[in-house]
Symmetry: C2
Subunit: 475 residues, 2 copies
Amino acid sequence: MASEQSPQLRVTIEGILNPRSVAVIGASKDPKKRGNIALRNLIEAGYQGKIYPINPSADEVLGYKVYGSVKDVLDEIDLALIVVPASIVPQVVEECVQKGVKGVIVTSSGFKETGKQGAMLEREVVRIAKAGGVRIIGPNCIGIVNVGLNLDATISRTIDPTALKRGGVAFISQSGAFGGAVFTWAQAEGIGFSKFISYGNRCDVDDADLLEYFMDDLDTKVVVIYIEGVDNGRKFIDVSKKVTLKKPVIVVKVGRTKLGSIAAISHTGAIAGSDEIYDAAFKQSGIIRAQDIEEMFDYAAAFECQPFMKGDNVAILSNAGGPAVAAADACVNYGLKIAPLSVETKRRLRSRLSPFASYVNPVDITAMGGPETYGLCLDTLLQDQNVDAVITIVARYSRDVQPAIETAKSVVDRAGVYNKPVLAAWTARGRAEAAKEILRNNGIPVYTIAERAVRALSAMAIYRKYLDKRQDLQP
Amino acid sequence: MASEQSPQLRVTIEGILNPRSVAVIGASKDPKKRGNIALRNLIEAGYQGKIYPINPSADEVLGYKVYGSVKDVLDEIDLALIVVPASIVPQVVEECVQKGVKGVIVTSSGFKETGKQGAMLEREVVRIAKAGGVRIIGPNCIGIVNVGLNLDATISRTIDPTALKRGGVAFISQSGAFGGAVFTWAQAEGIGFSKFISYGNRCDVDDADLLEYFMDDLDTKVVVIYIEGVDNGRKFIDVSKKVTLKKPVIVVKVGRTKLGSIAAISHTGAIAGSDEIYDAAFKQSGIIRAQDIEEMFDYAAAFECQPFMKGDNVAILSNAGGPAVAAADACVNYGLKIAPLSVETKRRLRSRLSPFASYVNPVDITAMGGPETYGLCLDTLLQDQNVDAVITIVARYSRDVQPAIETAKSVVDRAGVYNKPVLAAWTARGRAEAAKEILRNNGIPVYTIAERAVRALSAMAIYRKYLDKRQDLQP
């Protein structure tokens, strides 16, 4: 659709994602209603732009003067967050057009996802908006978050607007409720977002539009998309090909099986196409496909903070044998290589390690190696020209968390120096979280098991090879 | 080896895992030394049996009288935890033999894992113990934990002896340090252990011996094993075949690739054989193979608390569409079926749900369905004869955790009634953990994503089919 944009529709998505003013159409006094939640989210997140609650039958909500219509607001309105029943949406969108609102988010459900009548209503809304040059996100969605702007323009009861964590990951979710839950999950894992968009039925602004926007968004380093299907495949592929040259795009697509596809249709009304077609399209466009949400964030964490490998040679540094072996297994499984260490590296490791340690790759420093030794070994490995990346494993812990904290600092000190990716697989839980926190806060992604770290590294290697190939094709 | 046990060697493993008295040979005053940590672990865990620190050059440690040798102790000694340098181990094991100690744990490293000389020393220790009818766990291990007995007979600095969580999972780990870390991890996930054994070089008591013991251990419902390889494959398979008829056995075997295998050898001296052979052997013996530690605990949690499915038909109950679709995908991927709901079930669901909900399988109750509706729908699904198991998904959360807690209670109330497995995939984090805790405490395993819940359910289905087949083969 958007490829047939008329000039007046080109009013950018910027108005929606970076608004200077937001109207909440359907703002309510009742704390249980979405029109109240939406307004509270905006306020509690600390949005600094202007907020205009709209409701013909109220005069004041949460300390804000309420307007009967957007048309009664004298100021310009960039974004209208619509929280009214589906049947009234055409009317309020019409008023938004008349007011010159730049973009609207229609959170209301009762459209395409409910059947023929809803689909008709949806088309009517699109017609009004297009004619008026207004862009729509939704309907049947929870809205958007711009963390940098402290903007929570959602009806989400899940996302905590007072605890938004800033980061380089833009998260686009077709599913609203699930998107909200995943948002909290990512935050608990220490993954911060730049922007979050739930677009639901995607009647106007779609993945491709958002991808194009995020391509040039300075706050966004990685784009992740959770979809059940794509409406306009050609447009999606064309845009993805452009965007993936600049930024990694990670996609989880559910609804891959026939039965899953049926469920996807009843959920948002999208047609979940044949999975093989998606696989091929993603590959062709440089998109990294993740099998599930966990894998998606595993990848996002690595892509956000770490440089790419120049080759496929991985060094494994561990203080316990078992997970080092598992990591070596995983490297081979995921198409990476166990780096053959240089003679000099092995000599230096041998001089630093106990006779029981392994100073071939995987390097196991055993219980004898403390934080200092761990850091020195990491440094030695990163210096080796045969080593393109290091997986650091800590699986031997003290109840006293101090040594783990020292080890984390030691890793952080060395990891940034050589422009090679360093990923961590630190196993213990409980008190050990404090040490992992240090790694995360310094841009080193932490995985529960070595296999997941290796998988993320492998995704980065595949993407780098895609980029290399594309570069070769450039004239 | 143990299949050639002499009668006097039959002194049971019971003495090691359920000792009435423990000697710590090499008990030390120095809090940094393992001989001190071992004693502290014993004391702090609250072990109620008798504790005898042994050290020829000390008279008192941590308030305990120290004996020069086990032979100086007048009382009987069931278990000796040996924490002395490798070179002295033959001598102290000889003294244990003379004293009539039932079993010893040799934590010391410096044996087979270090090369030829260490291997010779290890054979010497085995020879002395065998001749004297004493069984050995180790060497090069961290020891054992019997949670029910408050016994922490380890040199682990990782496991917190004051916070042992009791459960039905026996965990056998070849790797010591990693085993310790995984122990804390399982506890953080709410998985409790019956017993934990790190056996390191496995010079005498091996997986098969322990499996045989756990077959009849009333505290143990599921056995999980983390190995790099098996020494006596025939014995392992024979015993496994017996044990898996009574209890599920879950194995993670690392060292599957050639390079991984090399690392495994340098780690504990075990030969990690061809992976295909292991795969076939596990399958033949009814062992459930997990690919990694996460999968291992995913399975353990399900097997520990949930009944088996009678057929392959899964119902999915969700309050958001996306993950319901993902769960349906996963069911098909893992060889399970999406249960066709009965007409009566669909009628009852329809009467309870909003018109926007999906009352075919997967059932999406949407935002309209609160805790009460969720529980009623679960009950309806469990009553349906076409449904063999239910995956409950909660991906729509309130910041106010109360509704999620109510939903959890509602699930718990219904889940236990029908003797069908109910697994949970609850996505949100942070405050939502309180609701998940209620599920876990009531025997409902909770997964981060639906895919993992389905995978665990599938492992249970495969095991049940194995049992069915074996039953058919019985005369």
